[in-house]
Amino acid sequence: MIGSQLQEGRSSLLGHVPRRIAGTALSLVLTFVGLTAVTFVIARVMPADPVLAIVGDRAHQDVYDAVYRELGLDQPLPVQYLRYLGQLFVGDLGVSIMTAQPVIDDLLRFFPATLELATVATLLGVFAGVPLGVLAAVRQGRWADHLVRIVGLFGYSVPVFWLGMLALFVFYAKLGWVAGPGRIDIFYEGMVEPVTGLILVDSALAREWDIFRNAIGHLVLPAAILGIHSFAYLARMTRHFMLEQLGQEYILTARVKGVPEGAVIWRHAFRNVLVQLITIVGLTYASLLEGSVLTETVFAWPGIGQYITRSLFNNDMNAVLGGTIVVGICFVAINMGSDLLYRLVDPRAR
């Protein structure tokens, strides 16, 4: 009897895993088809002309018509879309109009720049925002709370563009503490063979410590600017979640039982806000991975935000779709990662 129950449990488990994988795969496929379809239609109904992006406004009509046909724009929209999907299926994202390079090569170059910036910014935001959010909640109504809220409000409301320019002026132009716009000093370009596309990692792998240091000098300011925004959001949300938990009866019970205050805060209250925090951190990280156009513009950072925006303005369809797919993958991957983390921190989710 027990043996048959075990067997039944195992077979249901074995049946469950493939079903789950199939379900995830199906939802992924549907997500990407939807994503590409919506982006494709939006790009096509925009009142911009992709042919003029290539030939320029002075082109004679025969040149214009030839490129119009070359791009397949003389075909019905569904045919164009299916053709694009067909290319996508074999891993061909096409060639970008604006860079004359295969979109896949562009993405392999621009996305790591954004990944590097977003990761450092998120880490700064998490390591500063979460503890200070907890501190503000614990010290509610006192100066520490007010300070965190004011700094948070500042970080949340000050335009990134303005803050970026101000920071460049003070820390780069006046004090000379950090390096200027760009990802690396131009004289170092091409001196490290790209392996991951992340300059910090590649220069460390190559043991080029001068380049590593130089890259940190360039990264620290834009990452801090983006990090302030993440910090502000995370500190506010952490404070809010913690206040909710600290008002619960189980916290009162723990305190009455004489549990040390540190354990009450970190072991009891904080553990209960972790799931919500994981969601918030995941969404913050994903939004940074979309690329921050303004920060990338101010700091001349060759990231995916600038790439997609510029491509969109020029109706560079292949680049826009390629960039959208990468951003979509990021969101899906971060969602899946968050799901896994939920299971680790919350037994009820297992």
Partner: protein, 529 residues
């Protein structure tokens, strides 16, 4: 553990700070410019029609004929050492310089010239019209451009053009001579090497293309064997810095030698700076207001004349355009052969009102389309304000070029404020755009022609434009262009307003940068530090 983490963080911080403060100026043999290079979409001379790419091509390739930086107004031989115009005026034989070599080490031969010219026509990209106006097409160009012997190449022009125009056209970017052997080695599916040449170079100019990383930088390497001597700069970088404020900070810190896209406000603020100098270069770009003649009100000849009197040209040039635009009211830029510099129009509201009254027109509403980028919105706003004084209620619609140009090319605008630069250094380049409209029917789709876009045509002006184009006598030709420009000032659908100047700011120790009148006459080879 905490101690280790703290130490690592401290170390990283110290490293970063050390790095930031230790940054040095660019080395003495490297020239670094901060510029918005986002307009570069190809570096193939047969395709290039954008500003930044145009200047890269000018530094990487020698053209058959050239305007050299030492005397940017003098047309001289580039790859061609000399030329001889045959008696029929339709055939020109070029002698190719001896001993000239491409960056690859291959000799520059007449076969390369033949291949380069033919390739432009066969690929038929946007600038190909510069050659197809010669009467060349994909079928006949093989016969009309031919190698004579080991040092001569002959071209035949069947369109009856003035030899002066032909030689000027052969100084355009499309006349860049490319390394046939190297390009064909990279040919794919009969593309004549186009896919490869978009991001590589195969020229014989003062520099060769080291690397182009879109949205990051362009690196040019000096050609030590250049026919006019090796450039002083071993390497030239164009760093993509889209934000002018960031360009200024980089320049002030000494991380770049020159900033190319500073705003007038920023340039004014830098005046008198001990380490920086501002240079102004008159360019060929013309800013104009155009009226769609198919519009029921704008089609009235008195209306465009009234509009010309309702613009504060000098007021704009003295205020927000100061230093970057000057008043110019003819279609061919000042400072060139056959320039017409008379400026008969100034703000005169009474005159404008009177002309509108004579036309029987009361106050009316009109739409002005223009670009979102500076200074177009400011110009449109100034026009809007002075038009209002004349009783014209103008509504401004600002758009990105990618939405504005389709509208303009489809004749859907009413008024438009836009810019035009010559395609090559001959007045026919602009006359062909502003004055010549051989078929005004909508279905003719001459969308590259400004006169057609504005639904305006004049049989007499058309005839005169063709006559000027084909006249061989230089003095007679010049007189015709002067007359054409004068007539367009009253007969055309335009109020031509300004000529642009490029202002660059450089570190004082940088000298020898040259920006000529045409958009692609920008040269780095004489730069020293």
């Amino acid at each position: 553990m905490r101690r280790i983490v703290r130490s690592v963080l401290l170390l990283c911080g110290v490293w970063a700070l050390q790095d930031g403060s230790a940054l040095a100026d660019p080395p003495d043999n490297i020239f670094v410019m901060a510029k918005d290079i986002g307009d570069v979409i190809t570096l193939d001379p047969a395709e290039v029609f954008e500003f930044t790419a145009g200047e890269i091509v000018a530094n990487v390739y020698d053209r058959l004929m050239m305007f050299e930086p030492e005397d940017p107004r003098e047309l001289t031989g580039g790859v061609a050492e000399s030329y001889a115009i045959e008696a029929d005026g339709e055939t020109i034989v070029f002698r190719i310089r001896d001993g000239l070599r491409f960056h690859s080490g291959n000799p520059v031969r007449p076969e390369d010239v033949e291949f380069s010219l033919e390739r432009v026509v066969k690929l038929n990209k946007t600038p190909a019209f510069i050659f197809t106006q010669f009467g060349w097409n994909a079928e006949n160009v093989g016969d009309l451009v031919e190698v004579v012997d080991g040092s001569h190449v002959r071209i035949t022009v069947t369109a009856g053009l003035s030899p002066g125009l032909i030689l000027n056209a052969l100084s355009a970017g499309v006349a860049s001579v490319i390394d046939k052997e190297r390009v064909l080695a990279h040919e794919t599916d009969g593309d004549l090497g186009q896919g490869w040449l978009r991001s590589h170079s195969a020229g014989s100019g003062a520099f060769w293309l080291g690397r182009w990383k879109a949205n990051e930088f362009i690196a040019l390497e000096a050609n030590a064997e250049y026919r006019r001597g090796a450039p002083a700069m071993r390497r030239v970088f164009l760093r993509h810095v889209p934000e002018p404020s960031a360009q200024r900070l980089l320049l002030e810190r000494g991380d770049v030698d020159m900033a190319r896209n500073l705003t007038p406000d920023q340039i004014r603020a830098l005046a008198g700076h001990a380490e920086l100098a501002v240079d102004s270069y008159p360019k060929g770009a013309i800013v104009y207001l155009a009226a769609n003649a198919s519009h029921p009100v704008l089609g009235h000849p008195a209306v465009i004349q009234a509009l010309r009197h309702a613009i504060d040209y000098q007021g704009m040039a003295d205020s927000f355009l100061a230093g970057q635009f000057s008043v110019h009211q003819a279609f061919w830029p000042a400072g060139l052969w056959a320039s017409y510099t008379a400026t008969p129009y100034a703000l005169d509201i009474e005159k404008a009102r009177s002309l509108l009254g004579q036309a029987g027109l009361g106050p009316f509403e009109i739409r002005i389309d223009t670009l979102t980028s500076s200074p177009f919105p400011q110009i449109a706003q100034s026009i809007q304000a002075t038009f209002a004084q004349a009783g014209i209620d103008a509504r401004i619609v600002m758009q990105d070029g990618k939405t504005l140009w389709p509208r303009y090319r489809a004749r859907k605008h009413e008024l438009i404020v836009a810019r035009w630069s010559p395609d090559y250094m001959d007045p026919h380049s602009n006359a062909d755009a502003f004055a010549h409209n051989p078929d005004n029917r909508p279905e003719a789709m001459l969308a590259g022609v400004l006169a057609w876009r504005n639904a305006w045509a004049s049989e007499a002006i058309n005839e005169r434009t063709i006559e000027a184009r084909d006249t061989r006598d230089l003095d007679a030709r010049e007189a015709m262009y002067l007359e054409l420009q004068k007539r367009l000032q009253t007969e055309g659908p335009y109020a031509i307003m300004f000529q642009q100047s490029e202002q660059v700011v450089r570190r004082r120790r940088v000298e020898g940068f040259m920006s000529g009148v045409n958009f692609d006459h920008v040269y780095y080879r004489n730069v020293t530090k």
